[in-house]
Symmetry: C2
Subunit: 214 residues, 2 copies
DNA sequence: TAGATTGTTAATCGATTAACAATC
DNA sequence: TAGATTGTTAATCGATTAACAATC
């Protein structure tokens, strides 16, 4: 049904889809019923043709001469991204970053449900983290047999990341958001996205104009 | 001197440069003196020709038949990214995410020096956050007149982001790492990178294979 | 109908990768 | 010298954008 074209949707398209969705939610709350691709460009900075092309991978969404129905488009994008239903997520690594991510307010709104936190540190296991209790990473597979989360957030130090990833794969996780600055070796059936805070800062740093040499 | 070719370096090249740097630091600590582009590919997953091409934007770095000197390449990449010197960074938004970022251990190692934290919440201003004290965002311009930070991390709610960005620009910041899911309108001289946790999760979610419909 | 805006094709642009002469 | 590996050119691949016929 979706993506009738070929099968391969560019990743940048998927990223933009998430952006469109965010703006559509705002528009709905402003009781705006219809939007044109030109207006999307004004709001998101993404080229109008790009927007229409992105949608074209998945079907037809608008009416020529009219535009797109905000609520309809919103729900169809949510469906494409599979966030029109609850997605269970587990977190590995209960350090600063992990704790911050678990408290991220947008999570629930987007129906990502953080169902368990794991760590390998004896001093953390058993402690509460928000409304969850930190579990021993050794029990990950067992715990996920019932939880059946398919998405994991990996927020452990680089040295522990590969072992943790192996455990996640073993536990049936098929999508990993990796915050460790290391190449994870996983089976091809497992999808990994890497997020690197330092990489982002380095790119910013490069763009500083006049280099203050000291 | 650097980037003698044309002037425009692709952003993906800059991102990979940061990745290479990370691995080079590891290699140095393992007392490995020389590395070939083929070995870089094995370690980072980045194509060897890509690696050589990336470097070619900035000059010549290796010896044919030999490879690259780890320490030399490391310091030259650090110089290109301007992280061979201290970079002062200010944080706006002392919520969960901001607090986590400030505690990120790799920051100091990469010579990013977080010199001040600002927030607009009366309940937070004056409180300590790690070794810093949270300051009133109203004093940002004044404070940065002496700090002279050019890089800022923006970790406030979407509704507050544009105003905060305006204040940052006004205070002389020229590079912003934006965690708010909103298009910031800034002068062309200001470089913005957007990081969206939810966007990352949405792309992961899309790639889940058999959609568990309920 | 006239005006607006879509969906899609074709053109452009840019990034990745393969190939190889140059060189250590 | 022979073998290895670079730097760079050329070929490929993929993504963005402009243009426009189709359509509301």
């Amino acid at each position: 049904m979706y993506n009738s074209h070929n099968g391969k949707v560019p990743v940048p398209t998927l990223e933009r889809l998430a952006t469109y969705l965010r703006y559509l939610i705002d528009l709905e709350q402003s009781h705006i019923e219809t939007i044109s691709s030109a207006e999307v460009e004004r709001q998101t900075g993404i080229n109008a043709a790009q927007f229409r092309k992105d949608l074209s991978y998945f079907g037809e969404f608008g009416k020529p001469g009219v535009g797109y129905n905000v609520i309809d488009l919103q729900s169809r994008i949510a469906h494409i991204l599979k966030i029109d239903r609850e997605q269970r997520v587990i977190l590995v690594g209960a350090g600063n970053l992990g704790s911050a991510l678990i408290g991220y307010p947008g999570l629930k709104e987007h129906r990502f449900n953080l169902v368990a936190v794991f760590d390998n540190s004896a001093s953390k296991i058993g402690r509460p983290l928000w409304e969850l209790q930190i579990q021993d990473i050794a029990t990950l597979k067992e715990a996920n047999a019932t939880l059946e989360a398919r998405i994991a957030i990996l927020a452990v130090p680089a040295t522990a990341a590969q072992k943790a990833a192996d455990a996640l794969v073993e536990a049936g996780v098929t999508a990993i958001l990796n915050f460790a600055p290391i190449l994870l070796r996983v089976p091809p059936s497992v999808y990994v996205r890497n997020v690197s805070f330092l990489q982002e800062l380095a790119v910013l740093s490069y763009h500083l104009s006049a280099a203050p040499e000291n």
